[in-house]
């Protein structure tokens, strides 16, 4: 129930001021119910992590702390990593790979989609290849890229971009296809130039699709960077995972996973914050 309706209902209830059995008005009853509901939500919010940690603790004692470290050990490792300069260096390397790959993928994907969409014949000719390449797991190309580009940061950036480019490309292409035919006819009837049609109709129309593609791409970029580092690298969070795996430092691996999800969350929120102002018009009215 929306707030205004709630208030209205409350006022109406006060007007009638009928009393329930124990002398409380219906308003009081309803307010108390609302408070109870809020307490329940808060309680569950606290309870769920507590239960998870408790079960984790229990499991770790069951299977042995060397396979599943205790929550406290992981927490300690996370704090240790945070105060280690070398670790931040690895975070930095991965972050650079992710961001460079992401930017490269975004530019290339969007540009390719704009190009393909502007030549209908090209789109029809290329579609089978695009679909075919899309179904190929790009990660499988990582070893090839390493052969071609080498073991430095470049190969990680290329792998990252390769993994992240398709969601951008396919989404933008879908965006172009979704443009209303009558809207295009309108632009023709107004004798708009190609540039005007692009800037005033096509670009705003594909924007929600582009942003949806970017949101997937940023997640894919992190996968790409980590896998790239798995294939062969001496720094970055992917290589930290491998090193810690080699020394069976499970708590250490958990710590890296924690930082990776932190990076993912931060980048996603950042992207959303940057793109939201452009998309106000396409948001659901009821939300």
């Amino acid at each position: 129930m929306s707030q205004t309706t709630q208030q209205l209902d409350d006022r109406r209830a006060e007007g009638s001021s009928r009393h329930v059995g124990d002398g409380r008005t219906p308003v009081q009853v309803r307010r108390r119910a609302a408070v109870r509901r809020r307490v329940t939500v808060w309680g569950l919010g606290v309870l769920i992590p507590v239960v998870i940690v408790a079960v984790w603790q229990l499991l770790s004692q069951l299977v042995g702390a060397y396979l599943l470290p205790e929550p406290l050990d992981v927490a300690r490792k996370i704090v240790d990593d945070a105060s280690s300069g070398a670790f931040w260096g690895d975070v930095w390397v991965t972050l650079v790979e992710v961001l460079l790959g992401f930017v490269l993928a975004s530019l290339a994907g969007a540009a390719a989609a704009v190009f393909v969409a502007s030549v209908p014949l090209l789109e029809r000719l290329l579609m089978p290849y695009i679909v075919g390449f899309q179904t190929l797991p790009k990660i499988a190309l990582a070893p090839l890229i390493t052969i071609w580009v080498g073991y430095g940061i470049n190969s990680k950036v290329v792998i990252t971009a390769l993994v992240a480019v398709f969601p951008v490309f396919v989404n933008v292409l879908t965006g172009f296809r979704s443009i209303d035919r009558d809207a295009l006819l309108l632009m023709r009837s107004l004798r708009a130039s190609r540039t005007q049609t692009f800037l005033k109709l096509k670009l705003p129309a594909i924007l929600p699709y582009l942003v949806a593609g970017l949101n997937i791409a940023i997640v894919f970029a992190i996968i790409g960077a980590i896998v790239g580092e798995f294939i062969g690298s001496s720094n970055g969070l992917g290589s930290v995972i491998l090193t810690r795996q080699a020394s069976i430092d499970v708590a250490g691996v958990f710590s890296v996973l924690f930082y990776l999800s932190l990076i993912g969350l931060a980048l996603s929120y950042l992207l959303e914050g940057v793109t939201r102002p452009f998309l106000a018009w396409s948001e659901n009215r009821d939300s």
Partner: protein, 280 residues
Amino acid sequence: MPELTANDVAPVEGAQVPPSEPRSGDEVIAMTGIQHTYLAGNGEEIPAVGDATLRVGAGEFVSIIGPSGCGKSTLLKIIAGLVHPSAGDIRVQGHSPADVAPEYGLVFQAPNLLPWRNVAANVGLPLEINGVGRRDRERRVEELLELVGLQGFGRKSPRELSGGMQQRVAIARALTTDPPLLLMDEPFGALDAMTREQMNIELQAVNAELGTAVVMVTHSIDEAVFLSDRVVVMSARPSRVAADLPIDLPRPRGQETFGSAELGRHANQVRAVMNQAGGH
């Protein structure tokens, strides 16, 4: 299709005349023997427009009515220069639309507003494309919003408006450049009956005030009769002009015109021609 009785046919006879002369001397549209054939997906040639000859004078309101798929919308696109006819001659304001892009406003069945622009920016779009400066644009948009009864709505988003209001925005947009010709493709087809009548009355007032020639494709006989100086009935595909009926109802026409016996008589005449021309 119901069988025709003598009564049905009787009033039609007077209508089987060559296209009536436009109200004024200046012709906005002159099309002679227009034919249009399009290629279907399977490569089959489909003759949509068989032979259309039509004249529209300055400030004249002409409705085109006919069975579904008779090429009414194609005819509108030919006038707009968006489709080139297979054969025949067409002049809009004295030029071939293929050579000189004609000046016209276009209104579709859907309002077709750009959702990322507010109402004022939608109405101002044609001016923006023509490179009109911002201050002139704002002044003109204000005028037009007032004309269609939407003053104060400029900053609203299109989706905050009802269907009828959105279509008024579309009409305002089509009129921003003050074109001598307005082309409308079933503009009120998606509206409920009440809103539709209201919109008809308002469009009639706007047309009277601006003196813009209008060619409107519609499926509603009452709407066609209420608004038009002439109702052009097309036959089934490949379509020809089956009748060109002058509507001499006095203007201004208002709410009371809708229920009038005069309008009913004209509507029956149109209905009879349509039945004769091959059902709908």
